[in-house]
């Protein structure tokens, strides 16, 4: 006997047609849950409102800000046009100061370099300051798995990153990694580590974290940092932080490893005066972060601090493939997070809905580009194309235009799906042909009554065909007018 699958159609089930929904599944599912999470919404709203207000205040007080933005864009443009030369210059400068330089094609190469280094050094404790590049390649997990025999203890020392690590969570924002957690949740996580109940107040939690992390700082064998900027002419690594953990990571352990995306390069030291002024203002609404660190190679004779051994890993991981393409501007990003804070989509969903290390508009652009193929194909659609990201970007990256180009790339490569292709071919044929357009309008008006009737009921998505169902889930259907404008015009206005 033929067994038939029962048609299970729950009320909550999404019944939108395959063709329209397929490019955005993934994000849509996660976003659906996120927009119903009240605690998450409150946390994201608090953080983004505060960040946007702070950013506007300090940037409005800087009359040269628009000029700096232009300069930043042009510096990055020039850097990317000559990236191979500047990378060579950077490597020479670091080696000239007695440091080691390694070009890593992939995340795998970075893991292997650091794992082998840890083995050679007999390292046990690795401290890290905040680094999105290492999040991107899941450095911690892969070191723990691939080098399990070394029994490494890898400790995130940025407070937010540490709490995320303890909670088995991932950052949901480039600058505020655990903005999705409220104070009670943080107290829960830290209480679990403390073995006693800690009160949910900033003072108590902060002082516990400081005590615990201090032990790690002092015993670390290797310190790992990212880089906000790398200066080609001097070989200097610039990091900006607010907690001072960065300095303890770079100066206490005998070995300092920097993992830097190759796009973080600027040609000249003086270029930092442009970028440092923009970064903190755009990211956290500060004129400067509390600490701005410059590290140039290992400790030189006569210097009082710095690691004895210095390693710079220049990580490609898909970046160089964007050079010279219509997506090159995505490499100009300085990871300030401003585009996330102003993004009306991010503000509703938070970062985890993106399902990737980088969230918000910049995440929606670079994730599919860095991963390649059909990966993260949902993300370019996670935007209303409002352009707030482009307006907020301190480097002037036209993020919403890049999202449009990514959507077009999906169409060209056949990722967008046949149903959509047919729908827009139909759209083209209708809109090229005024007679056909007129008839379509008439057909719509004929269907108006039954549709409007269905639309009047609550929770009616099932009864309406195509994208109308998605519309009427939460909104009343607009009624078509009895006569279109073109008829009113003919009759005389």
């Amino acid at each position: 006997m033929e067994t038939r699958k029962p048609t299970r159609r729950r009320e909550t089930e999404d019944r939108r047609p395959e063709g329209l929904v397929s490019p955005v599944e993934g994000f849509n599912e996660r976003a659906r849950r996120a927009v119903r999470d009240g605690d998450l919404h409150d946390s994201v709203e608090l953080f983004t409102n505060k960040s946007v207000a702070g950013r506007n205040a300090v940037l409005n007080a800087l009359p040269e800000a628009p000029g700096l933005r232009e300069r930043a864009y042009h510096i990055k443009q020039e850097t990317m046009a000559n990236l191979d030369r500047y990378l060579g210059q950077m490597a020479d400068a670091v080696e000239g100061r007695g440091g080691n330089v390694f070009f890593a094609d992939t995340g795998e190469d970075v893991v292997r370099y650091i794992g082998d280094l840890a083995r050679r050094k007999g390292a046990k404790v690795l401290t890290k300051s905040k680094s999105m590049a290492t999040e991107e390649i899941e450095l911690n997990r892969r070191l723990e798995e691939d080098y399990a025999d070394l029994d490494l203890e890898i400790v995130e020392t940025d407070l937010g990153e540490w709490i995320a690590q303890l909670a088995g969570d991932t950052p949901s924002h480039i600058v505020g990694p655990i903005l999705h957690m409220n104070r009670r949740r943080i107290a829960d996580v830290l209480s679990g580590v403390a073995g006693e109940e800690l009160p949910p107040d900033v003072e108590a939690l902060g002082s516990f974290a400081r005590r615990r992390l201090r032990e790690k700082f002092l015993t670390a064998d290797i310190g790992i940092t990212g880089a906000n900027f790398g200066v080609a002419e001097t070989g200097t690594i610039a990091t900006v932080t607010n907690e001072g953990n960065g300095r303890l990571v770079t100066s206490v352990p005998p070995v300092h490893v920097v993992v830097m995306g190759i796009e973080k390069l600027v040609p000249r030291f003086e270029d930092l005066s442009v970028f440092v002024r923009l970064l903190a203002r755009s990211g956290t609404g500060q004129k400067l972060t509390v600490y701005t660190n410059f590290v140039t190679g290992p400790r030189a004779p006569g210097e009082i601090d710095g690691a004895e051994e210095f390693h710079l890993i220049l990580m490609d991981n898909g970046r160089s493939e964007l050079l010279g393409t219509e997506f090159e501007e995505a490499l100009y990003c300085i990871r300030c997070g401003a585009c996330l804070n102003v993004c009306p989509v991010y503000r509703q969903t938070g970062g985890h809905a993106y399902g990737s290390t980088y969230s918000g508009p910049i995440g929606a652009v670079i994730t599919p580009l860095l991963k390649g193929g059909k990966e993260a194909k949902d993300l370019p659609h996670a935007s209303s194309l409002c352009g707030a990201c482009w307006e907020a970007c301190p480097v002037g990256i036209p993020l919403h235009d890049l999202l449009l180009k990514l959507r077009n790339k999906q169409v060209r490569e056949g990722v967008a799906g046949k149903a959509q292709g047919l729908a827009f071919k139909g759209f083209e044929n209708t809109m090229k042909n005024p007679a056909l357009y007129k008839i379509s309008g008439k057909a719509g008006r004929l269907a108006r009554k039954p549709l409007a009737k269905a639309g009047a009921k609550d929770g009616i998505p099932k009864t309406l065909p195509g994208p109308l169902g998605a519309w009427t889930n939460g909104r009343d259907l607009p009624e078509l007018a009895p006569k279109p404008f073109r008829e009113l015009w003919k009759e005389g206005i």
Partner: protein
Amino acid sequence: MKVALFVPCYVDLVNPEVGVSVVRVLRRLGVEVVYPEGQTCCGQPAFNSGFFDEARAVGRHFMDVFEGEEEWDYVVSPSGSCTTMVAHYYPFIYENLPDERDRAEALAPRVREFSDFLVNVLGVKDLGARHEGRAVFHTGCHQRRELGVLEEPLELLRNVEGLDLTGWKNEELCCGFGGTFSVKMPDVSVAMADEKIKALDESGADTLVSCDSSCLMHLKGRLRRTGRETRVLHLAEVLDENGG
């Protein structure tokens, strides 16, 4: 002064009264209005979904219909978004097609959003209109960022007698329509509308005005679904009320 009226497809089919108001306001100001009958759509739905070839084809039709350099001085449209598609994004989609690009670039400065045309071309700020009530104005994102037409509609509204124009929280935030975004990401789209509606409630306004009927269609759909009776009007309709 002679203008060709571009009535976007959804205004044609859903809100034809907006087009009627535009015609009446323009005529009152002594502008001769023509309506090229071959017009359909600017192509934006295809463009926003990444179907650039289809958008280009529709764009060619649009340019064929609206170029008419001998026949009219400007093309006026009651939509910041569709105006942006033609004036800003046609040069973008035809970037590598020199013939069309030249045509698009020549047409771009002649295609004007309604409030921009009134204030910056005609130099008119007061239509002698009258509307009782407290209103907030929603600037569509294309109008705000690509066209930079921010003050013009506000100036026009401030001169409407009886109208109390008030600000609202985070007014620069997108309403959540976003064309096909509204049906591809319906949950986020509706959540974005809810944030606007919360701000609207807090403002105490009874009227919502915009230069974009598409944003209004989305917001109105959500307002009605949540049981709100807020009046939802295009700027042209407000300026047409009890006017001279």
